[in-house]
Amino acid sequence: MDAGYQHHQMFAKRVCGVLILTTLLSLTPSVSRTETTSPFQEGVEYVKLRLYPQAVDTFKSIVSQHPTNVDALFQLANVYKLQDELELAIQTFNKILAIAGSKNAEITERLYGLTHLALSEIYCKQSKLDIAEQHAKEAVQSRPAEADTHYRLGYIYTHQANFDEALAAFKRTLTRNPDFSEVYEWLGLIALMRNEPQQAVTHYQTAIEKKPYVQSAYYNLAKAYRLLGDMPAARKQLKLFHQMKTYYDQTYAVESALIEAPMNTTLRLKLAEIHLEHKHISAAVATYQALIRLHPNLTVGYDKLGRLYMNLNMPQHAIPFFQKVLKLDPDAVEAHLRLGWLYTQSKAFDKAESHLQAAIEKMPKLSLAYHGLAEIYTQQGQLQKAIEVYQHITKIKPDDDDARKALHELERLKRSQTTR
């Protein structure tokens, strides 16, 4: 199914950021598959996985039984918002505020503030900045210590060209969260709009330092250099912008397709590969984790994560994923091999040997496994055992030059030890 004309804007951060999503999800503890999952937690999990229709059904079901369950209402409203069902989202968020206004209801200050913040975002998206501003102010009043609320106000003031107020709001945001990278982008933009290119350069450099995967920062940094008359620097940033834009466009295309087919494993793997190609490791990890949550019985997600951590030289992170692969597929020879290698790296030789032997048991002519065993014996100083293993390799794989060389080297070493 082709996307409609509007589809391209689904991820647009031009007007309303997606920061709140993270905040909303962090309201609830993460779901562990080993624990009993409540319907609420299940709904939250659906949201994380962008399974919005399922999430709506789940939260609606909770709300039908408990109409004043503000947490469920909040999540439901949030899903509507994520689906661009803005009127439904407004109605539902307003229900929370109505409940908050009644005498007997209990609602936390945090939820109240977040509700106003969410409404502010929606009204921004609907080009109703005056109403958005009122809600943002309520959010600030309710949650003055939260950087997000001040950020929203700063965002609105920027778009109203009320730069002094915007700068004050962004300053408050940074006081609360100095790593709020988006703020530096807006500070840069304000500086550009005020024809202060040198300041813009500083802000955009900070933004890039804090979050290097945002195309707009490079683009605007180039513009700042352009205004300063520094063409080489501008061209350099435009080159980087192109790289980031390519990355964004690629991920955008896959994410758009995932909205139509959220369970599609190939798409998720492709998305992770794009992240890896651009060295955005955390995004790749998150993508694999989402794949695992969606398909907990598929080995591919665990295997990919294990390999990723292996490549990052983080054996302790990698090992559990290969163990999970073996749990799901005891015949996964490659997992045995990798665990053998990882345990060898960790000097856990017994475990390493056990996995390599298991691999050999399943594939008796698997020379790589023998190489692993030989390595273990070598590292432990058991040269004779290592020599025997290499001799075995040369028998089952006569053209294995590596084995031949290693064997030659070990025999030479052994001779020298004997001579001494």
Binding site: D2, Q9, N94, G101, Q134, H135, L189, S216, R226, L238
Partner: protein, 563 residues
């Protein structure tokens, strides 16, 4: 617990009060009851009704709409109107076949349909149009873009036209949208640029859905095709020079808006193309027979987030009177329209937010867009024609409507604009607008507006306030330069202002405009200097000229009043 503002009437009242205060702040000079533009469509006799051939299938070519514009086809000194029509695509037409219409200005604020006798009632599925004297014979010829082969109508000089498409070799077979004439190589003959949209055939139409709702497909559902550039051979024929002029590595995009303008003031006319959900193009004319595409390095490729937008219409104009052509682009709803200020003839700054148009235009889907000085105060204002693309948008987004109001932004003279779209006059119309053309059709010294609408009649909006200030209009006639004077750069100096205009044949969206250069001069009683730089570099000058007059400037001759 804080009170819930959304659930109290007081909030709504408070909100309403805020909005009222906000609007009143934005409208410092216009009383709420003042009629700025009056809808005179009916009294003018414009009975034309557009059809997009609505099939119910949401065919991909139904939503772009059609354009039109003002031009004096019969050379009688007043502006006539041409309107482009769509066509029925899915069934045999019963009764009258939809066709384009030419209205002759009767000189008394009414028009007469002269389509048949003029011979310009094309029945193809029309999109855009432009005019220019391509054969330098002293009358304006008409070029039409279609979903299908485009057409050139040569003006015979006697009230009739001849379709010379084949003879002139300008039958662009692609789906042309906006188009414009300009003398790109300064040889005295008008060349022609046509933006092309997509490679599409109704027989291969795709069905698109969004959240389960059948919607019009986005541009990327169909591949883009390169735009077309025809070089005028000077003998009544053109050569397709598209590949010669465009950079070899240019990636085709979905072209919609076209405006020529010498943004770098080097004497070679340049070109900006607004592309739909694609990077926009700025073609810098090297003067050596080709264009360089410099949008990115010039800051006019993307929005301020480095993202392509759904560019629809576009126009060059010097809104800050600094002698450098600025640029505006209309975009999709939830994108803002863009105002780019020409910084140094090589780079543009994005002044969308600081200019004050961002917040308002974010809520509208813009198409036709044009710089023009509606109130003759010496600063160019902006008009935008709006209307959503999806007839069923309300199903997906309750707060968005298919018909939308158009917008008028008054230039406050300090780099900012105020939305003065009044609730009470012709600007209050809510329609599915597309094209917008500007011209003084009633010759009363202020600029009127023609808006084309999808499946509706057009709107002729008569300016009711502009001539409260003084003005002049200049018709340029080239001799060595192209006869229409397209590309001529005119500088007008009064005691209070220095203003610049270039004569352009296109701009906006699918539309064309009065070729006479119009200057509002506020309360100035005299024009100190008029200076015209022709496309061949020749400069003519007139000094100490009266206001509220129409002038004719023949290249190399004295600038004289028309009557």
């Amino acid at each position: 617990m804080p009170k819930n503002p959304s659930n109290h009437n007081s909030y709504h009242i408070f909100g309403f009060a805020l909005i009222t205060i906000f609007i009143s702040l934005l409208c410092p000079t216009v009383a709420s009851t003042e009629q700025i533009f009056i809808d005179v469509t009916e009294s003018a006799g414009l009975t034309f009704a557009h059809t997009d051939g609505r099939s119910g299938l949401r065919l991909f070519n139904e939503f772009l709409g059609s354009g039109g514009g003002f031009f004096d086809y019969d050379g009688d000194g007043d502006l006539d109107i041409y309107l482009v029509n769509g066509a029925i695509q899915t069934e045999k037409t019963q009764g009258n076949t939809p066709h384009n219409v030419l209205y002759r200005n009767n000189g008394d604020n009414t028009f007469t349909d002269v389509t048949k006798e003029a011979g310009v009632g094309s029945t193809r599925y029309g999109t855009g149009a432009t005019v220019g004297d391509y054969d330098n014979d002293g009358d304006l010829d008409l070029y039409l873009t279609n979903f299908g082969t485009d057409e050139l109508y040569q003006n015979n000089g006697n009230g009739t036209f001849t379709n010379v498409t084949d003879r002139a070799k300008v039958g662009n077979p692609n789906w042309g949208t906006s188009c414009a004439f300009a003398d790109v190589d300064n040889d005295g003959h008008l060349d022609l640029y046509i933006a092309n949209y997509a490679e599409y055939a109704t027989a291969h139409d795709k069905r698109c859905e969004e959240r389960g709702v059948h919607v019009y497909c986005g541009p990327h559902s169909y591949p883009a095709v390169h735009d077309t550039f025809y070089k005028n051979n000077g003998d009544g024929t053109f050569t397709d020079a598209s590949t010669l002029y465009r950079p070899a590595d240019l990636i085709p995009q979905h072209g919609l808006g076209v405006t020529f303008g010498d943004y770098d003031t080097d004497g070679n006319i340049d070109l900006y193309v607004a592309n739909d959900q694609d990077p926009n193009f700025l073609f810098q004319n090297t003067g050596t027979g080709n264009f360089l595409e410099v949008a990115l390095i010039s800051g006019v490729c993307y929005n301020d987030m480095g993202k392509e937008e759904a560019g629809m219409g576009t126009d060059f104009g010097d809104y800050d009177n600094d002698g450098k052509l600025d640029l505006t682009v209309s975009n999709y709803q939830t994108e803002t329209n863009t105002v780019y200020r020409n910084h140094d003839n090589t780079f543009f700054t994005d002044n969308t937010i600081t200019s004050g148009i961002a917040e308002v235009t974010h809520g509208y889907l813009g198409w036709g867009i044009r710089f023009f000085d509606y109130d003759n105060d010496g600063f160019q204002d902006i008009f935008v024609a709006n209307g959503h693309l999806m007839d069923n948008i309300n199903v997906l987004e309750k707060h968005v409507t298919y018909p939308q109001r158009n917008l008028l932004f008054r230039n406050l003279g300090d780099g900012t604009f105020a939305n003065i779209t009044s609730e009470t006059d012709g600007l209050a119309l809510k329609k599915v607008s597309r094209g917008a053309a500007i011209g003084d059709y009633d010759n009363d010294g202020d600029l009127d507006i023609l808006v084309t609408n999808c499946n509706q009649r057009p709107d002729l909006l008569q300016n009711a306030v502009g001539n409260q200030n003084n003005w002049i209009q200049i018709q340029v006639v080239g001799k060595k330069s192209n006869r229409s004077g397209i590309g001529a750069r005119i500088k007008v100096v009064t005691g209070t202002h220095v203003q610049y205009r270039e004569v352009h044949s296109g701009g906006s969206y699918l539309s064309f405009h009065d070729l006479r250069a119009h200057f509002g001069v506020g309360k100035s009683e005299q024009i100190e200097i008029i200076e015209i730089r022709w496309t061949n570099g020749h400069i003519d000058q007139g000094i100490r000229l009266p206001v509220n007059r129409r002038f004719i400037a023949v290249e190399g001759e004295k600038i004289v009043p028309v009557d």
